[in-house]
Amino acid sequence: MSVTTLGRIAAPARASRRAGQRARRRARLTEAVAMMFGVLLIVWTVLPIYNMVMVSLEAHSDVFTDAIWPPHPSVASFWIVVTEGYWYLEYFWHQFGNSLYVGAAVTFLTLLIASLASFSIGRMRIRYGWLVSNAALLTYVIPASFLAIPFYRIMQNYGLANNLWSVIAAEVTFATPYGIFIFSQYGRSIPIELDESARMDGATPMQIYFHIYLPMLAPALVAVGTYALLLAWNEYLYQFLLLSSKRSMTVPVALAQFLNSDEAPWNYMMATAIVYALPPLAIYYLFRGRMTAGLTMGGVKG
């Protein structure tokens, strides 16, 4: 082969190599910028939480000083919380159990009621079903704070005063419309042919619901379940209003006790809040993959 031929073959290779180098440099640059942005995002997200952690690690007299770092960090506050060593925390584990109970009940009932409703509206296409799903949305028109006093009165009427079930009812009411919304959006990606062929094979609606609809809805179930759990876990106004005794209280109400007077061991309060925040974080971590899939409106193409 002559030198010129070699040169003519090598030139395009060199050009593409240079283009590749440029692209890689650009990619590395954008990646670096992205990482810097990531750091900023972490600072943005973590600041208030850092403040909480800082207070929880400080001794009572160190809170509200000039420090941006806890001067004498200690986990004494966490120990107090876990051993129920303070007056307001007397029933902490019992209240934690109440929160778990409420969270589990709200999640389960929301998923059940919302999936049944969206099955009826979206799959069985009941006439005027859209009326129900629109009416569900109206729940959000009325802000929760507006409904607080009527709710209190009504729970008295239903005999549910100071009962965890009054809170469960309130939160299911607020979580379900969102569930119906997500399930109907998600459900559009489940082919209706599946239902119809099952029906032709003689399946009852209940069987279609259990064996076809629910399994295919799984990611959306996780998404809505997480939403409902977090709503119940962190909801405050209704739990505050409807639960009054130490034994029936949930942790958010117990936390609010710290605001009872103008004095409080804030380090204990923040430690309590952090302990309380761990379960939903754990659940989010476990289910995050499914959760994103579930929120995907179009579903995953087979």
Partner: protein, 456 residues
Amino acid sequence: MGNLSRRAVIRASVQLAAAGALSRPYIANAANTTASAWWVQGFAQEEDVAFRQVVEDYQKASGNTIDYSIIPYAPERQKIVSAITSGDVPDLFTANPAEIVALYAWQGKLVDVGDVVETQKSQFSETALLSAQCYNSVTKRRGTYGVPFTGAVLPIHVWKSLVEKAGYKIEDIPKTWDPCWDFFKDVQKKLRAQGARNVYGQGLQVTANGVDPNNTFHYFLIAYGGQDIVTKDGLLHVDDPKVRAAVIKALTYPTTSLKQGFVPPSAVNWNDADDNNAFHSKLIVMDLDGTISTEVAIIKDQEDYNDIVTMGLPLSNEGQPVPSQLTVVNALIPVGAKNVAVAKDFLKYFIQPKVNNEWLKVGLGRNIPVMPQIVKDDPWWFADPHRKAYTTQGVIGSTVPAYWAFNPAYSQVQTEHVWSTAWNDILNNGMTADAAADKAFARIKEIFAKYPIVQS
């Protein structure tokens, strides 16, 4: 506050049982019936223990049952409002906030409890009795709608170590009004000169959150001679030049202090706890704040506890004693209560001086009695320096009732924070004290117009 020691609990039970044994004459021979009660959770665990003991002893002595719930402060407020609105009321509850006795009495929603108060009438201070005599717009008469059982005033809390660090002694604090507050400006200047960046001399709550801003304003108002802004008959006197002058001074002093840098700027938006937070962290040298919860909260830290000096109010600029406005807390029986008789019976038991005294003492004396003879008979109230100062100010010293007792309209003036708004107008909206005062007067007149009291 750690767990209550067994010894303390046993001591409490014995004392309260003894009190119960001595009080038989007042216990009705009532049939075995139950009354429901909502009681506000105390600021310290001991207060709840004390209440539980009282109930137990009452139940044993009378055979009645009190089905009580101890509810934290803010939820109890909400529950009371919801209950009165919906008609589903307990048989008795604590006035939370204190001024609802006037509001609900006006609306005819409370049962007249004059017969209960009558049993101890000679024991109650005049301020306490006046605080329970509220106007009922339905019957168009005043009646006794609350049973007073405790009260609160605002003492001055001072860090002795900070005063000394500035080179002064507590005894150096001037005895008259303006000079007393000005003293702390000097303390701040000296401390700042030593390099402390974030220390402020005066902890004056010029915010619009909580009850203490109203109290702070009133204390200054009364010191400057404006006590008669609302008189016993419920009439408003904002057109009185003496009142007007006092209002303008009360609006001017704290705001000028803040503008000069002697009050933390964030005071304009403190929530209820922020002044305590600032004080505990030694970021303010003194705090004008209700009750001695500031001290009781750190009772375990002996060094700091002894470092705080609790003082009553200085004399007015003219050298006259300044009466402290006493916020009296009443127990209320709502209309619609199912068992008024037992509720009344319990309250009669509760306000017996011996029972009341024991209840207050087990509660660490954070609440003071509204019956002066109690503290005159019991030296415990003067044993601890903080308690001594607080008791002297709130029980022995001269006190005046809150203005809402005279006219329920004033409770709205307080909850709307009309005076705090005036402070804010001066600080943030550039108004002069005169203009802010006029604006406040206009609003107060509007509010008072809704509550016409027929003079008998």
